[in-house]
């Protein structure tokens, strides 16, 4: 079951104007949706909010209904040990398999773990590699 290994990221197009982030997060707040990981990629006049939330489908619907341009993106989660070389071994494994990491961001998870969110160009192959490394996060983000 590949689906359980894939995390659905909520991606939202926002114009780079005051109040846009507030408008997005207000909608989530109203529905009691918790943001677990969050990043904005900005490019001049616009930005793209990328986030992992606890109630993904609900978040997608409420933002779409509010008129935002929103999509769900398949990303992978990787659990990183709190020791030197943790990220290196993963990046190396993916690099050797010729898998490109398109973007990456991280958040703390549980008591003392960090979870890294990865967007890769070949998700099937990346799952295979990361499973071999025994680092792929399998579970629910909530």
């Amino acid at each position: 079951m590949k689906e359980e290994k894939i995390i659905k990221q909520v991606s939202v197009f926002v114009e780079n104007k005051p109040g846009r982030l507030a408008a997005v997060t207000e909608k989530l707040y109203e529905k009691g949706i918790n943001i677990r990981a969050f990043t904005i990629a900005e490019a001049g006049d616009f930005g793209i909010i990328r986030m992992v939330v606890d109630k993904t489908d609900e978040a997608y619907k409420v933002l779409k209904d509010a008129g935002f341009t929103v999509s769900l993106t398949n990303v992978l989660g990787v659990e990183v040990k709190d020791e030197p070389g943790g990220l290196y071994s993963i990046a190396k494994a993916l690099g050797s398999a010729n898998i490109n990491i398109e973007y990456v961001y991280a958040f703390t998870f549980g008591k003392d773990k960090a979870l890294i969110i990865l967007r890769v160009d070949d998700i099937e192959k990346a799952i295979e590699i990361l499973e071999k490394e025994n680092v792929l996060f399998k579970g629910k983000v909530d």
Binding site: Q9, S11, F13, E15, F46, G67, T69, S71, T73, R119
Partner: protein, 431 residues
Amino acid sequence: MYWDPNVEKMPLKDLKALQERKLRALVHLAYEYSPFYRRKFKEVGVNPWDIRGLEDLSKLPFTKKQDLRDNYPFGMFAVPTSQIVRFHASSGTTGKPTVVGYTSNDINIWVESMCRSLTACGVSRNDIMQIAYGYGLFTGGLGFHYAAERLGATVIPISAGNTQRQIELMKDLHTTVLACTPSYMLYLAEYASNNGVDLRETKLRMGIFGAEPWSEETRKRIEDKTGIQAFDVYGTSELSGPLFTECVEKNGLHIWADHFLIEIVDEDGNLVGEGERGELIVTTLTKEAMPLIRWKTGDITIMEEEKCNCGRTHPRIMRILGRADDMLIVRGVNVFPSQIEHVLMQIPEVGEHYMIILDRAESGLDEMTIQVELAEKAFSDKVSDILKLEKRIAERLKSVLNVWAKVEVVNPGTLQRFEGKAKRVIDRRKI
């Protein structure tokens, strides 16, 4: 189908002879009864007897919008007010107001012209026509109204605006033909789809769109989105109102030559070569209340004199490419908003609505920004994809306009919608 087949299919030779006869009568009448034209003729030293044929037309001076303003309200009329049965007026947002008057014969010719046009694009007495052009001092609503009635079609005189009601009535009364501005059609289609109404499931089969320039690509979008046939209509209040539409060939708008004589001229007022673009000049051959000689419409188009496949011999103008005074000068380059629309509508990743913003940087250089809505399906979570799209649009614009524009994609539904004529240019440059 023809409304007046004998006239519409008249051999070109006969049509030209008819035009010459009417032109000779016109200059004499204008000289005799219009103090304005008598003064104008004298200024350039032309006598009505100098005008013998169509080739003499260029001896006559142009009539400009400013003439109508200067002679407001009655100075352009060639008949006493007792013979005038109606006035239409423009609001004068860009200057003093202008007024147009009609004798009962003028109204009749207006309605007859429009009946020919509506028949040519396929409207018949079996149609139910929803007229969403403004009624009142604006000529659009009433122009369509009387022609549709004379045709025997059923008219819904709903006028402009109130989109919810437009859609309700369209569904309930089985509207088959909608007349409005193209930008309002786009708005209405979007409104319908946001409210769960599929226009394909209504009886609407065609639309007649005008009062502002629009592009072939916009036609394609309207047709693809709504499943209707979209036709272009042209006319100006000074000439009467909406007068000419495309025929079913969709290859230019027939100008009824027994009433209107057209020329295309360049910026210096000289006739352009065959097939070249220029400003449309119209001489009204039969208007009584306010005859216009070599009226500068300000509209840029191309004339086609070849007989049309539909069998009509009357010359055609291609869709209006822009207004002579809509022309933007950006870094010294002439830019028509219609060229920008043309490019944008060929790019499926963006929507139909756009804005053109002009600024002048401190360096004194003009900066043009084009805002366009990102199509839902084109959204990607990768910044580079959207930047690539902006770059691709900018490059396409550059190749057509010869000047760079900054392209900004924005959220769908966020740019201004227009219920009447669209105003898509914001010029913030300080001269």
